[in-house]
Every structure is written in C-alpha cells, then in structure tokens.
C-alpha cells in the first residue's frame, strides 16, 4: 500500500483548509484596530503555525494506526509529565494571565500543553475502550477510564483552566457513548455533576434526587453502586456552596455574568455585552471586512483569541456567521462519517473523540459570544490565535485523514 496524497479524503481536507483560511483572514482582521497593538502582526505567527500544522497533519497521515496505537501510552505519559512540569514552571499569558497554562523557556512561550493533552487523552481512552470485548456495564468497570481522564483533568484544573477541564469531561462522555456504554450508566455517572449544578435551587435539586432514586430502583445496578451514586449526589449537593466559594473570583464572575450580563457592565459582564453588541450590530451583511468599529476601537475584548467569533459577526454579518457555522457543522459531520467507516474500533473511537472535542470547543466558544453559555477561555478551532491548539487540531485532522484512507483502502462500500 502506497500512500498517495491524492487519495486522501477530499471533503475533510478541503473543509479543514477552508476553515483554516477563513480563520486566518479573521485573525488578520482582528489585528486591524485604530490603535495598532501587537495583535496586528499576529497573523504572521499564526501562518507559521499553520504551516507547521500542515506538516504535522501530513506526518500523522503517514503514521500507521497501529504505530499510533502502540505509541499511545507513551504519548499519554509524556503529556501527563509535561502537564505536571507546566504546573511547576508554567506562566500565564494574555487573557489568562492569572493561570499557569503556558510552558515558557527562556522567556519564549512554547505552548499550552493542555491542548495536546486533550489529544493524548482521546488516544488513550480509545485504546482502552477498543481493547475490550464488551462496553463497560458497571461503574466499577469505568474506574480505569475515569482515572485516564481524571489525571490530566486534575492537572489542567489546577492551572487553573476550567474550560479545558470541561472539554476533558465532554470527551470522556462522548467516547463512552461511542463505545456503546448504556445511556443509563452515563446518566448515573453524570448524576453527581448534575446534582452539583442543580444545588443552587433546593426544589430542582430535591426533584433530581427523587428522580435519581426512582431511576436507581428501575435500572437496578449493583447495590453498592447505587449507594455510591446516591451518596455522591448528596455530597455534591451539600458541597456545592463551599465549592462555589472555592472558585476564583473571576470564575464566579464569569458564571454570574452568564446569568445576568448587565450586573456590572464595566467589569463582569463587559465581555459578553461588548461581544453581543459587536455581533448584533453586524446585522445581515456586516460592517465589511476589517471595518468593524467595536473591534477597531478595542471595545471587543480578546478579539484574537476567545472572542474572535464576534469579529466574524460584526464584519461579515449573519451571512458570515452562518457560513462559518456551516463549515464547522460540515467538518463535524465528515468526521462522524469517518468514525463510522473506520476499519477498527480504536481508530473509530479516535476520530469520534476528535469530533467530540472540536464540537465542544466550537459550541462553547460560539455559544459564549452570544451569552448562550457561560464564558470559559477555550479557543475556537482554526480561528483563535494559538499555536498549540492549531497544532492539536492539525494532528487530529491528520489522524482522521489516515483513518479515512484506511477504510477507503479496505474497500469500504457505502451501506
């Protein structure tokens, strides 16, 4: 079997490239402000990273899935070590100046290891889940994958990077689902988290506990599992308030601002309000490429990273937004198709994990700009400035391309 570039999955490659181009153009525009800042020249760097990303994607395309599967534990171990290392020597930057998310050597920021760790977790989970005959049926069987996710998640959350931590959780649930885990088991697994979120309303929390109890009686898991789930749910509800107090003020504020952006428009809600103003004032056709006044006059915060999507909304309008969303949807659906047609469970799970990760990033990032979701600092794939994440996405696309090629070679026929 010889790898030929023209045999790659054209829709996947072209959608990814178009998105990368769209993102680069938007990043260029984000730098066009009336008072030029360092953002003006940032697209050069991003272009360089894109080049590196394309090379990395081609390299990953050349890597056999079996080699990847063999290398997975090492990659996972290395990323955990790097995350540990980051926690010790990491530094903050930009909009996340208060955290320790970057590895800096000699004053040069090398990247955010959390982004690459997401890929490592996907591979590791895929490897573990694919190695089983049956999907996990009990909570006890789920302990190893929980451990796989929890180690990097804990390290990332300690940075602290709440957004990335949420992405790990999403990846975990998505891959369990794709591996055939029963939805009821997933619900039980999620029940403490749901309990935590509902703890703010006594009525909602009470109803949830009653419902959970009924579900436990109906599904009949092992006795100790049922008890554990109930205990965890109770504990989560009880510890919700102390946990809330434990959150850093900026994290509390972000959640509060999500509930009511007008609380203090100059402080907490500022990001959301300015983002909505930028998007809303764009209208159908937008203010024209590079001409968005909100962005030009620096009202839009972090317009090159977390809040790059409002630049699209302001300058290219609803049409630009729909175009971007359509491209993203196409990318996800193509990845789902690739996962479906994959030749073996490991690669299928890998690609599905990648699709889940990208989907969570896209929905969370886009959703927070219109106040649909609370603000977390996770980047928009292919748009937000940031080398590590672009590299992670490129590597992920490279793996998906290889998986697509494999299934094509094995003569996959349309069912």
């Amino acid at each position: 079997m010889r790898l030929r570039l023209r045999e790659i999955d054209r829709p996947l490659a072209s959608v990814a490239l178009v998105l990368a181009g769209y993102g680069l153009a938007t990043l260029y525009s984000a730098g066009q402000t009336d008072v030029p800042t360092f953002v003006a020249g940032i697209w050069h760097k991003q272009l360089l990273w894109l080049g590196i990303g394309v090379v990395a994607a081609v390299l990953m395309f050349r890597v056999s899935p079996r080699l990847l599967e063999w290398a997975t534990p090492y990659a996972y171990a290395i990323s955990v070590v790097i995350l540990l290392f980051t926690l010790v020597v990491g530094s903050g930057a930009g909009t996340a100046a208060g955290s320790r998310s970057w590895i800096t050597i000699g004053g040069v920021r090398l990247g955010q290891p959390a982004e690459l760790a997401k890929l490592a977790v996907i591979l590791m989970l895929a490897r573990w889940l694919a190695g089983r005959r049956e999907p996990p049926a009990t909570l006890r069987e789920l302990l190893p994958p929980i451990a796989i996710v929890l180690v990097p998640l804990g390290l990332v959350a300690a940075q602290p990077d709440l957004g990335s931590a949420i992405v790990f959780v999403a990846i975990f649930f998505a891959m369990l689902f794709w591996a055939g885990t029963k939805p009821s088991l997933l619900l039980l697994l999620a029940s403490p988290v749901i309990s935590l979120l509902l703890a703010f309303s006594t009525v909602a929390w009470g109803s949830w506990i009653v419902l959970l109890f009924a579900l436990l009686l109906w599904w009949r898991p092992y006795m100790w599992e049922g008890l554990a789930v109930m205990m965890l749910s109770f504990l989560a509800g009880a510890y919700a308030l102390p946990l809330w107090r434990h959150l850093a003020p900026y994290q509390q504020n972000r959640l509060l601002a999500f509930l009511n952006p007008e609380v203090d428009p100059r402080a907490t809600g500022w990001h959301v309000i300015q983002s909505k103003i930028a998007i809303g004032s764009g209208g159908l056709f937008g203010k024209g490429f590079t001409h968005g006044p909100q962005k030009r006059l620096a009202y839009l915060p972090a317009q090159h990273t977390d809040f790059i999507f409002p630049v699209v909304g302001e300058e290219l309008g609803f049409l630009g937004v729909v175009t971007a969303l359509a491209l993203f949807a196409a990318l996800i659906l193509i990845l789902l198709r690739v996962a479906r047609r994959a030749t073996d469970p490991y690669t299928s799970l890998c690609v599905f994990g990648v699709a889940g990760m990208l989907f969570v990033h896209i929905v969370e990032n886009v959703g927070m700009t219109v106040n649909l979701l609370p603000i977390t600092g996770i980047p928009l794939p292919f748009f937000s400035y940031g080398g590590s994440f672009l590299l992670a996405c490129s590597v992920a696309i490279g793996i998906a391309l290889r998986v697509a090629w494999e299934s094509r070679q094995s003569g996959y026929a349309e069912l």
């Binding site: 009336d34 049956e134 159908l284 006044p293 620096a298 993203f328 789902l336 479906r340």
Partner: protein
Amino acid sequence: MNVFHPHLLDRRLRVVRAVVWTVTGVVVLVFFRTQILEHGKYELQSETNRLRPIPLPAPRGIITDRNGRVLAENVPGYTVSLLPGNQDSLRATLTRIAPIVKLDSLGIEHILSRYQRAPYLPVMVLPRATFDVVSALEERRLIFPGLLIQPEPKRFYPDSGLVAHLVGYVGEVTETERSQRRFAAVRLGGLVGKHGLERQYDDSLRGADGVRFVEVSALGHVVREADPASRLAPVAGKPLHTTIDLDLQRYVADIFPAGQRGALLALNPNTGEVLALYSSPGFDPNAFVGGVDPDYWRRLSESESHPLFDRTIQARYPPGSAWKLAMAAIALKRGIVNFRSRMPIPCRGGLQYGNRFFRCWDAAGHGDLPLSDAIAQSCDVYFYQLGLKIGLTSLLEDATALGFRTRTGIDLPGEITSEFPAGTDYYDRFYGPRRWTSAVTLNLAIGQGENAQTLVNMVRFYQMLASDGHARSPYIVRPAASTSASLGLSPDQLAGLRQAMINVVERGTARGARLKAVTIAGKTATSQNPHGPDHGWFIGFAPADKPEIVVGAIVEFWRHGSAVAPLVARVVARYLGADTTVAVRIREALPADTAPQPTSILPGIPEEDTTARDTTPADTTDATPPPRDR
C-alpha cells in the same frame, strides 16, 4: 455482541447527528435573533458605545447700550475637559492631570460627582485655561486619555463693576434651575444668566448649543471626528440692544460718592427708557465667568454692604419728603386744595395732634404758606394737615392706585414690591382694632410710617410728574405691559407742581443742585432709619419745562437729601450736555431737612419697623453661592 457492529454504530450515529444538527440549529437561531431581529438595538448600543457627543457652546448674544457700545461681549477662551471612560480611569487621569491644572483632592471629588450626573458627556476640568496650561497639556496628550481642549467663547464685561447690577453675570446652570421649564433645554454644565439682564433675557441671549460627535476607543482616546453630517452647529444668541446710555452710566459711576452705599436711576420720563442704573457698591461680574473664586464669593456675600444686592430695585427705603409730592398730587386730584391753599394752622415748628406733638423739621417754623411754598420748603406741618384733610381711607386708596404697592415691572429679575398699607385693616391687624388713631395719617403724610418704597418705584412716580401724568413702566430692553396708573391732574396742576419743584432747587432745600444752563425740578428727602444716620434722597427732572430725563438717587447714611441733589444735577447736566459744575458751597448753608422722628402713636405700642428692612436683601436666593465651576 460486537458493539462496533455497523448497525449499532449507525444507531448511535443517528443520535449524534441529531445532536449536532439540533445544537447547530439552536446556535443559528440565537445568531438570527441577535443579528437580524435585535440588530437595531445593538446597532444603537454600538453607536453610543463609541460615539461621544461634545457640546459646542453657543456664543451668548452681546449686550449693547443705546448707541451700540458694548456692555457684555464674548472673548475667546479655552476649556479643558475629559471624556470619561469609567470612573476609575477618570480618577486616575484626574490624579495625573491635577498638578498641571492645579486641582486639589476636593476638586477631583467635585469633578467625579459631576461625571456621575452625566457619564456620557465630557466632564469639565478647567473652565478658564490659560495658554500655558493648554500647551503643557497638549505636550502630554498621550498620557491623558480623553483629553479635550476646546475653544469656547467667554463672557466679558468691559466695564465690569460699572454695569454689574445692570447686566448681571452668567454662571453654570444649577440642578434646581434645570428642573424649571425655562432652563429645561440647557445642557448640564451649560451657562445661564444669573442676575440682571443676563438672566432676564437669558432665553434670547443664550442661543442654542450645537453638538459634534467623536469616536472614542475603549481606552477613552478620541480617535477621530465622526461623520460631519451628524454635526449640529451652535446657534449664536441674539444681541440685546438696551436703552442704557453707557456714557452716562460711566459718568454716574465716576461721580457717585466712593465707598458709599446707594443707587441712582435715570429714566426718560416720556418713554420709560432706563438711561442709567447704578447701585453701589458694585462687584466684578467678570469674576463670575467660569466659576467664581470661593474667596471672592465669601467676601461679597459676607460684606456688610451687600454688593450683590441691586439697590435700585431690591431695597426699600422710607420715601421721606419725596413723598410730599404724592400727597400734593392726591390732594390736587381730589380738589381738596389748589396751589394757593393754606392750612388752618400755620407752622410754628410743630403740630399738636391729640396728646402728641408732631414736629416740623424746622423748629423755627415756616409760618403761614401756600401749597407751592410748602413743597419748596418741605414744611411738615402743612403736610400733616393736608394728610388729615385727605383722610386716611382716601390716602391709602389713591396711593395704591398710583402704584405705591406694586412693582414697576422693570425688565430686571428680583424687583421687590414697595410696601404701603392697602387699607385700614392693615392697622387693625397690626395694632388691633380700635387701638390706633388717625394719627398714623400724620406719619404717612410726610413719607414715614408704614411706607417703604424702592428707588425705581419712586422714580416712576416722578416720571409721571415729569411727563403728561401717565405712568410708563421703566424698561431697559422692552417695556412691560403698560400700566394704567395716572396722576389724573390737569396740565395746569402738573405745571404748578413742577414749578414748586423748580423752587425746591432754585430757592428751597436743593439749592445745591442749581445749574447755570438748565432748570431742574426735584425734591429732596431724608429718611430716618434705625441703622445709622439718615438716608438722603433726591429725585429730579430737567429741563423743567419739557423734561427729558428724570433721575433718582439715594445714598445711604448720607444724612441729607440736599447732599444728594448735586449728584443728580450733575448727571442731568451731563445727559443734557450742559455745564456740570454746581454750586457746592451752598450745601453747608442748607437747613437740615429732617423729618421728625416718627414716635409711636399710642403709648406701649411697638413702633412699626418698616425701615428695618431697607438694607436687607429681599431675594434670599441671592445668598446661596453659585456652584463652583472647578
């Protein structure tokens, strides 16, 4: 069972696809709502976000005298303001700018409180910036986000103190004023007239402020001027043409006894035009432009002589002997006397009435004299009896009809009402029913007692004497609605009164006012007051046969009206272009035209104390300092 069997995968894929489509659909719908349905709302917010209105102050209309000479004008000036980002950044900028514009911490707090009232408007830091300050700020423009240096017309009064009470001054509009309909259109921080003509004609002088918009970045830097189409040019205020004769006004200020309190008012008797209006001591209206210095304000408001207080319209004095003409006019109109009428009791230095002896100012007595001589000699005994002949009820009725209880309606703010009893029930209220006698008439008859008149009201009465007997409201720009008050005298009677007043000057109590070329008719008055020496009055007009000017003057504590007479005479002469030298040396030879001390009519009854109000500011709002402008 292989969980990766294609059928099972397809089942899960359907679920996942449904999730992807649903979520994407929801996101698209939310964007549709934000960008299409609520576009207008966010577009507006985007504009208010970045566009800041900068008011373009309209130049106030200039005020000129009757010959077009300037009383109030505008000169170029600079203001320094800041476009605030938010309170913290404004505070930081103010702290940095403070050493350059000489701002203390109190001033910073003051500016911050102004910012809170209108957070989107530029907040004034320095209303009167010198060129040095402006250039020092321009050099450091980068470290002061939102710095705004604007040329702004400044009010300037070339004659400053000479015209202070007349033109008044301008100051920043207060919150209370803005709640009134009259000043509702004035923007926060805008200037309005505070006193005098500036206030009276503020509506036309003010003009309409314009506005321009600038684009401001999130850091508060002014990036550029917004679309010029959105600019609204200011409309300059209309010029105000007054009837004042600036030359005469300056002359009045020049010859008014220095350091004395008092006032002088000159009218054209045939039209009511005010030719000169002067109150002493004055103040510097230029000091109020752009915020008055607190020390200066304290000096003005704490001064015993109340410089802010316009003594032509805001002070009441007992009219004293000047009132005798009113008595004569009322008696003549009622046909009680003619000019040759004599009173039953000749003057022997006083009059016994009931259990009281009412003295004449001249203890030697004037003997038996007719009305015209009684006016010339200001004989109190004659007028005591004339008052009794008229009767209290008729006297009160006629004096009220002549306007001694009303304002003249002069077009200046703050004119107070002259005081005079409306009817006999005033005495019932004051002393109690049947606890007073018609002896009060005797006090009223010589201009004492329950009678306190403003200078402008007395001058208006003499204007009636000097013209055809009809009242004309004094005015500086536009006459008020015409009054129907009239003396109701025949031309002969008017001529007789004028002749008697000529005699006052030629042979009587005001010989010091005699001029070589012009005949002046007038009346002196001396009114007692509880604060010190008597106040001196003189009201006169000239030429006596065909009057062109009527001048009234009062000098507080000047002891005698005949001392005021030369002042008036020189003003008259100046206006008529005659020789202004008067025979000053005669003054010493004059008798003291002092009306007798009004003593209480019944024992144990407190004396009526109208005179106590004469130097108390009537308008208490004057006592509150205008808001400091810095």
